[in-house]
Amino acid sequence: MTKTAHLFGALLATTVLCGVATPAFAQSGEVNIYSYREQSLLQPLLDRFTAETGITANVLYAGDGLLERVAAEGELSPADVVLTVDIGNLVGAEEQGLTQPITTPALAERVPEAFRDDDGNWTALSLRSRVFYVSKDRVDATALTYEDLASEEWKGRICTRSGTHAYNIGLIAHYIAANGEDKAREWLTKVRDNLAFAPTGNDRGQVKSILDGTCDLAIVNTYYMGAMLNNEAEPEQKDWANAARIIYPDAEGAGTQVNVAGGFIAKHAPNVENANALIEFLLSDEAQSIYADTNYEFPVVPGAPINELVLSWGELKASEVPLTEVAAYRDEAAALVDELKFDEGPQN
């Protein structure tokens, strides 16, 4: 009994020492990635990257809080590259001083100016758009505008996730940038009152609400349509997606709001060269087509092939409002969401 107890104790102590005090990454021939992007998207990209360059990629996947973490870790942070979504996060990282310039020439050669920082502090790696998913059965319209969301016709028929989510903040910030804050307040108030229910759940959940009939128009990112139509692990999601079709808002007017997924090299990156190699790879035609085919996003490099399913949703006419201007109105957008109590749902 005592021998077993001693053995047990020794075993536990070893576990504690080995498991607890070892920082996860070594620092050579490698690149360390903090990623908001999901493993299913990133892994195929990284497998190709490692095969071509021999550089091992270590990844921390997290839905939230990576920038806060890089900031807290400071000069000791093992992060080389941070892959994130939403322009606000990219610009925010630069403002918090978490970035360093990307030096690979591929940046300027392949990424249009609108989709990268002038000093190379961040770059977009793919594009997505926040669009309208409408019920195939209950909606006849083929073209809609952002203004339509505020019209009486859509009373009790619109749904979206929390207004505080980065995707919706981006959309609202875009509206502020294009129309000014006063008009945005009026618009968002009406949108709030047109909601079918208080914002809840995630983007996929909104599409499900179209299937179950609680919602006729869901504000959702484009690529979810592809992800749901091809979800073999949970085939019911195909039914959710099949209940809806995509309309690009303002396609015939000022154009649809476009957001980005992108990345930056961390200020204290231990493997700067490898980090640049990774960014260069992610901008290659090969990687861009993986983004397009695995996650149904739009390539950021002009001329890279677009997935056929994505093409079938129609042509994306991107809004002219510069991304950095959208990012600049992010705080105003968040304050507006709070002020109007958007997340508490319709109030009139």
Binding site: V16, V20, A24, L60, S77, A198
Partner: protein, 543 residues
């Protein structure tokens, strides 16, 4: 004890309190510091809604769990009805289902495509939900029901223990004087069991405040959700710290209420006759009413959520899911073991310090075990920066001395998490070990010393071996709590580490919960361990 020993306990006690209190101290300073900046506007803007929604949820869950737990405990201890012996322990099982899992499972169960609504449409021939009425579970009342369904056992256990120890004289007197069962219940049972009830309700309410996953999923702007989004979505640490400190103050009030109730209970328990109450055999419809009531509690708290998870795991069985689950298993177990060892070690220290100490030291020890009441989100928020700073200082020192940079030893490893677990679950290990040490007494230790053994020898050959059962059960309890823990793990986990809980959370939040049913089921199964062990121990005692 030697001369050093005389000084050591007070210093150690104080050190323990400081170590445990570090995150709260840090947050308080950050919150005060942020008063001067712009973020107090944010806290002021978000706080009223957040406090209202959390307060409403706490009160409603407190009342529902109190009523349900008290009634069930009263039925099970005072009456005999079909399946009573089964319910006696089965009613505790919902404790194995963490609140966030209950939320995810109930949404699947009651959703449009779930079994209930699908069956309903089969019957009424409807195509969309607009053609019939169905309540929306993602709401304040939905959260109340779902959280209550898995949190009532706190009141049930507290009241059941109380009834088993309580003299039956009062109840019998009331019946003799002609009061009916119902009147006795409301005029005698409810008032005398108030202390136990308050303890059970407070524990349930603390779980409500701690919860992050369920309120986020239900779209409720509870304080933890607002703290999380203030920090994560708005990068406003100062604002988040202000919100967090407010929450800690609110919890402080709860703790005072609970401590008072505990003292009151000590008084009530003195009258105990230690003879279990004789059970009245219920007849006719009433026996089925009692049975049905317990069955509903069990079904809502365990049957439906666990059943839904099991059903989804089987239906969506996929090699990819199995691989994900297995991948999360090793980090989960490692964290659980490491956390259990450290927490039990600290618990042992605290129990030892409290064993011989005078009043003030006991107070310090009690203060150090209050971490169980602080939400994981708050602890994580309060630890990230100080640990990062400590790493920075340590690295600068090693660079200067040895030209060696060890990296993020604290904040970038599992150590940060083990630290949070130790704070949050110290109460669990301390209370278990404290009880065992009181029961054992000091005579064996003194005998060992008298026979000439050194302090280390006594520790290794007498002290620890005699405490082994308590050490193991404290370790098991802490291990299980760690496996179920979500908010702190989510925010502090090291690079590349995905535990069962964070895996389920991340899948659920991108709309793929059904695919995470298998890891979720694993958490519930682990959660069953202490319940089963406790019921075994209970059986042994009866023999």
């Amino acid at each position: 004890m030697g001369t050093g020993g005389a000084l050591a306990p007070p210093v150690l006690s104080l050190a323990l309190v400081l170590v445990v209190g570090l995150p709260i101290l840090w947050l308080s300073i950050a919150a005060l510091g942020a008063l001067g900046s712009g973020s107090n506007g944010l806290a002021a803007r978000m706080l009223p809604t957040a406090l209202r929604e959390t307060g409403l949820l706490m009160v409603s869950v407190g009342l529902v769990t109190g009523a349900a737990g008290l009634t069930a405990a009263w039925l099970v201890t005072h009456y005999d009805f079909p399946l009573r012996r089964l319910f006696d322990w089965a009613l505790v099982l919902p404790l194995a289902v963490p609140t966030y899992l209950a939320a995810y499972a109930y949404v699947e169960f009651l959703d449009f495509t779930g079994p209930i609504q699908s069956a309903l449409r089969q019957i009424n021939g409807a195509q969309t939900i607009r053609e019939y009425w169905f309540p929306d579970i993602r709401s304040q009342w939905g959260a109340t029901l779902v959280l209550s369904a898995v949190l009532y056992p706190y009141s049930y256990v507290a009241c059941r223990t109380f009834f088993l120890m309580q003299s039956t004289a009062l109840g019998i007197a009331a019946r003799t004087l002609g009061a009916g069962g119902t009147r006795t219940f409301f005029e005698i049972i409810v008032p005398i069991s108030r202390p136990a009830l308050v303890v059970g309700m407070t524990l349930a309410m603390m779980e409500v405040v701690n919860d992050l996953g369920a309120v986020q999923y239900f779209g409720i702007n509870a304080v933890t959700a607002v703290i999380y989004s203030t920090w994560i979505n708005r990068s406003d640490f100062g604002g988040a710290a202000q919100l967090a400190v407010t929450v800690v103050l609110v919890i402080g009030l709860l703790i005072v209420a609970e401590q008072r109730a505990r003292q009151a209970r000590a008084y009530a328990a003195q009258r105990d006759s230690r003879v279990p109450p004789a059970r009245e055999r219920l007849g006719g419809a009433r026996r089925w009413l009692a049975c049905g009531f317990c069955a509903i509690l069990f079904l809502f708290g365990f049957g439906i959520p666990a059943g839904e998870l099991a059903y989804l795991s089987v239906r969506l069985w996929h090699p990819q899911t199995v691989a994900l689950t297995l991948g999360a298993l090793a980090p989960t177990v490692t964290l659980g073991l490491a956390g259990a060892v450290v927490t039990v070690g600290l618990g042992l220290l605290a129990a030892r310090l409290g064993e011989t100490g005078a009043g003030p030291r006991r107070e310090l020890i009690r203060l150090s075990t209050l971490g169980y009441a602080i939400p994981g989100t708050v602890l994580a928020l309060g630890l990230l920066q100080p640990l990062g700073q400590a790493d920075l200082w340590f690295n600068r020192m090693t660079m200067a001395l040895f030209d060696w940079r060890p990296g993020l030893i604290l904040s970038g490893s599992m150590a940060a998490l083990v630290y949070v677990y130790a704070i949050r679950f110290l109460a669990v290990s301390h209370s278990t070990l404290d009880a065992a040490m009181r029961k054992r007494g000091r005579s064996m230790l003194d005998a060992g010393r008298t026979l000439g053994a050194g302090r280390l020898a006594v520790l290794l050959r007498v002290d620890l071996p005699t405490l082994m059962p308590a050490l193991l059960s404290a370790g098991t309890l802490v291990f299980v709590e760690i496996v179920k823990e979500l908010p702190a793990t989510l925010l502090l986990r090291p690079l590349g580490v995905e535990t069962l809980a964070t895996l389920v959370y991340s899948r659920a939040n991108v709309g793929l919960f059904a695919q995470a049913a298998l890891p979720a089921l694993c958490i519930v199964l682990v959660g069953l361990i202490p319940v089963i062990l406790a019921s075994w121990a209970g059986d042994r005692r009866k023999v």
